[in-house]
Symmetry: C2
Subunit: 125 residues, 2 copies
Amino acid sequence: MTTSHQIILLAHGSSDPRWCETFEQLAAPTLSSVQHSAIAYMELAEPSLDTIISAGKANGTLNYTIVPLFLAAGRHLRKDVPAMIEQLESEHGVHIKLADPIGKNPQLGDAIRDVVLQELADTGS
Amino acid sequence: MTTSHQIILLAHGSSDPRWCETFEQLAAPTLSSVQHSAIAYMELAEPSLDTIISAGKANGTLNYTIVPLFLAAGRHLRKDVPAMIEQLESEHGVHIKLADPIGKNPQLGDAIRDVVLQELADTGS
C-alpha cells in the first residue's frame, strides 16, 4: 500500500542521547496520533531526513511536510534546511513542504503559559 | 511594594530581530497571565538576565525562577546558564531556581501534536 503524504518532525539533533530522548518524548503524541509521521534529525543523530525520505520513497510516498521542532527560525531553518530540501527533492524526485517552526504557532505560547502556571503552583507562589 | 518572587522566561537570543520577535510572541500569553514575569535573553539581545535581576533587586525581589524557552537541555542549559546563575546569585545576593526547559513538559508534546493536526487539515490530507 502506498502512502500519499508523510509528516516529518525535524529536530536539530545532537550527539547527546539525552537531547534526542527529549525530542522523542516531544514527538510521541504526534507519532501515535498521525499515521504517516516520523521524527528525523538535521544532523548528529539518526534517522536523518535522507533516511526517512529514502524509506518513504521506497514505499511510494512522494509528498512530505517537514514540521520543524524549533521554537524560532534561525540560520538552520532559513538556509541549511531549505538547501537540504532542494537536494533531497532533486535526488529522490519527491516534493517537500517546509512548514513554519512550531514556535510560530499560538498554541505553543499557550502551552508555555500553562507550564509556568504549573511551575508557580508547584513552588507555592 | 516589593515582589517576593519573579518568573523569568529565558530565550537564547540572537542579533536577528525576527528571532527575538518570535520569542516575544511565545512569551506574550505568560506575560499577560502572570503578574511578576519577564522575558530575558542568554546572549546577543536585551534584556539580559543581569538587566532583569538588577531591576528586580532594586524593587526588593530576592527570589527568581528561570523557565528556559528551550525544547531540550544542551550545553547552554547544562553548563553556561548554571554558571551565569551562580555569578548572578553571588553578585546580587538573590536566589535563582532553574526550572526544566519547557520541552520537558508533556503539554509541549500535546501542543506539537495539535500543530501537526492543524497543518494536515490545512493541506487537506
